[in-house]
Amino acid sequence: MDLLTLLQLLDSTLRLATPLLLACLAGLFSERAGIFDIGLEGKMLASAFLSAAIAFTTGSVWIGLLAGVGASLLLSAIHGVASITFRGNQLISGVAINFLAAGLTVVIAQSWFAEGGRTPQLAGAARFNPITLPFANELRDVPVLGPIYYELISGHTALVYVALLIVPLSWWVLYSTRFGLRLRAVGENPAAVDTAGISVIGLRFTAVAICGVLCGLAGAYLATALQAGFTKDMSAGRGYIALAALIFAKWKPWPCLWATLLFGFLQALALRPDLITSTLGFSVQTQLLDALPYILTVVILAGFVGKAIPPRAGGEPYIKER
């Protein structure tokens, strides 16, 4: 495998890891605040559909993005009301959101566009287009560094860079700000937060809202950057993979990046069976390659990657005691 092929592989790793990373960070905020969110998948799907639909209708991907985030936020609000206000079961609420999104997106897409439950192809300003970073073309011929800059670092859509920036931002928010301290506390021991005179409900709703925004970005990325339009069930389990990555990352921002890059790499590999054949000398069934990220998900969720201790109050509604 030559440098260029490797860079191309890593390049698509980055592209494929982006929605996982955004969803993983979304889950990070929610779960660190003690709200388990199995509905990342549904929120991404809803955002993917609405962002594509609105981007097609208005011709502007940015308005589409806003609409996608709005759709995701709406589902977050439902999850919040069910699990924070009414102290319902967080898993059930999440599953309900996934079903709701899977069904509604296709039905609305069909009645809106009548193209078999998909949106029309997006083009031009209705899509996120690659950004060529400054001097990328000029530096292209510099040995080694040039190709790395041109192929790997430059030429992604805006959301890829945004996602990468959110990693240090999340780390900073969680560990260096008052809000982060309180957010982490409310996921560990909400009673401590409550007796300190801070609103547990307010903090948890804020966390769920952040989760909604990030899921919205992830969904919009799927439909308007990675692909050119919405197709049925296009999130394809990415919400669940993000959850597995979150556990793998032990609920910490930087490890979230590494974990989702690993999953992204496996997905990128599945797209290039020819590379496997040429490197290993024998061919691996493409179905097996496609299944790899999901197999890794199962392995991680089954707890084979060491002890991951979730936030202690995770999944439990807070009831004020006497």
Binding site: T177, R178, R182, R184
Partner: protein, 536 residues
């Protein structure tokens, strides 16, 4: 008493006619108290007397239906905890409100940050912590994780939290429930320091000894009402107990010297390793004879629980245990609760809510449970409900369980009555050996008296009793011999007539030697490392 207040000074805190109902239950009825600044005021009462409700109102968890709260001469409204903090009220809960994965410093700062950025707040807290530590003997390592420090230290963090928020009035709810005697002594020294600096302290407890030891004035609550407020110096434990319960209470257990008979339980070289590979019991040997109480003292988490679990038949162990001379299976098929009962062992577990009872089951189901296969409870393949019900009513009557309603779910009884249900079930089976763990944890003083009498009565019938308790007072009152456990070892045996709390405290901290040469601080330092302390 170091109060220097003049009669004209405003009370630090004054409640006027506070009432609060939950549905038909009146938790607080027209309660009024005045607490002067720079004093320690005790509030004593049985479980359910309304102490916690009153304090929840003061800390903004509940709003009173009627009444006024005055702080330092000004009427205040306390709709939430934030308002309580602003009024200078700090609360140390019985169950600590700490984030275990945070450091001490982060816990102290949480909710009292100066700005949106953490760093300056943490720096200021670090400086203030040092000052507070010097001033009040409140030493803690600011960078230690809360999960790594002992309960006594965690409690200090709670006090520091309140002081950091500039609390002038500190409310402590059952503060010594989880502490060893030495830790409790240290806490009292801290409280005295705080009083000297002019802080006002409200101490809620059901332990008469603490009230007598440290408070200046004391209020007694019974059934939602304040029955009396007196100067501590002018009252006595017996008088307070009578005010609490509403009748005369025996504070000492009346018992005659034991008449030990044959060895009933013989344990030799018992070893237990738990799921995490931690060696919990390390070669424990002991004997219990007919007609005696062997008390096992120790800080929670030093192997006492495991000992009870093995003998009760629900943990695996290696070693040799005989009951009435017959060996007991510790690992095989007949190592379970049912076989133990057949061997003549009855067990009142340490945690009645998790192990002793099924909280959602009715009293009659709980009393029949474990014995549902007895011939008298069966009609062919079916259970004989009527027989079970009658049996329950009889037992509840004999053990004075209130309310006498066999169909009431276990969770709706008070702690003392729950414990009586478990005791009735186990004792009335006429076992040869009774294992009993923490018999009076969270139990009212009136019920404590009854439970202690039952244990001694059983002993006097010639039964063997193995008592595990973290309450030294209880161990000293009931035991005929005292064994101390530390880190899975037996530290040795003492005669309750000749030993004292200090000597036992040393053994509980894993120290041997002459008690005269050891300071309380040393004992404390060792105790902080003894056991997890959290597995209570």
């Amino acid at each position: 008493m170091t109060t220097t207040t003049t009669p004209s000074a405003a009370p630090a805190i004054e409640l006027k006619g506070i009432s609060k109902s939950f549905g038909p239950v009146q938790a607080n009825k027209d309660i009024s108290i005045r607490v002067m600044p720079g004093t320690i005021h005790g509030i004593i009462g049985e479980n359910g007397a309304g102490k916690s409700t009153l304090m929840s109102i003061l800390y903004g968890f509940y709003r009173a239906d009627a009444g006024e709260i005055w702080v330092a001469g000004k009427k205040v409204e306390i709709p939430d905890s934030q308002a309580a903090i602003a009024a200078g009220i700090g609360m140390v809960f019985q169950h600590f409100k700490l984030v275990e994965t945070f450091t001490v410093l982060e816990n102290i700062v949480l909710g009292a940050e100066d700005s949106a950025m953490l760093r300056p707040s943490l720096a200021r807290a670090r400086r203030e912590l040092k000052a507070l530590a010097d001033e009040y003997e409140l030493n803690v390592d600011p960078d230690a994780l809360v999960s790594d420090i002992g309960v006594g230290m965690q409690q200090r963090v709670e006090i520091l939290k309140a002081l950091y928020r500039r609390a002038d009035i500190l409310i402590l709810d059952e503060p010594t429930g989880v502490l060893t005697p030495a830790e409790a002594d240290h806490l009292f020294r801290i409280l005295e320091n705080l009083r000297r600096e002019g802080k006002t302290i409200i101490l809620i407890t059901h332990k008469l000894r603490e009230i007598m030891e440290i408070t200046d004035t004391v209020s007694v609550m019974r059934r939602g009402q304040m029955t009396a407020t007196v100067k501590t110096a002018e009252t006595s434990p017996a008088a307070l107990a009578e005010l609490m319960v509403g009748r005369k209470v025996l504070l000492r257990v009346n018992k005659t010297p034991a008449q030990p008979g044959a060895v009933i339980l013989d344990v030799a070289d018992l070893n237990v390793t738990d799921d995490k590979g931690v060696h919990r019991l390390k070669g424990v040997s002991l004997q219990v004879r007919a007609g005696e109480v062997l008390g096992i003292a120790g800080v929670a988490g030093n192997g006492q629980s495991e000992l009870l679990e093995v003998l009760g038949g629900y943990a695996r162990a290696t070693g040799r245990v005989t009951m009435n001379g017959r060996p007991i299976d510790l690992t095989g098929r007949s190592s379970d609760g049912q076989s133990r009962r057949r061997d003549g062992i009855a067990h009142v577990p340490e945690d009645r809510q998790a192990e002793g009872l099924i909280m959602d089951y009715a009293a009659w189901e709980n009393i029949a449970f474990g014995y549902q296969n007895d011939a008298r409870f069966r009609r062919g393949p079916l259970m004989d409900h009527a027989a079970m019900m009658q049996d329950t009513v009889d037992k509840m009557g004999r053990f004075d369980v209130r309310p006498l309603d066999p169909k009431l779910a276990a969770k709706n009884f008070s702690g003392g009555n729950q414990q009586k249900i478990v005791l009735a079930r186990e004792i009335e089976r006429n076992p040869d050996l009774l294992l009993i763990g923490q018999p009076t944890r969270g139990v009212d003083i009136g019920a404590i008296e009854f439970i202690h009498q039952q244990i001694i009565a059983l002993r006097d019938q010639g039964k063997a009793i193995l008592l595990v308790s973290v309450e030294l007072e209880e161990i000293l009152a009931l035991s005929d011999r005292i064994a101390v456990m530390f880190d899975g070892h037996m530290m040795g045996e003492r005669d309750p007539a000749t030993t004292n709390e200090k000597e036992l405290g040393m053994l509980m901290a894993g120290m041997t030697g002459d008690p005269g040469n050891v300071t309380v601080t040393e004992i404390e330092r060792n105790l902080a490392h003894a056991g997890t302390g959290t597995k209570v």
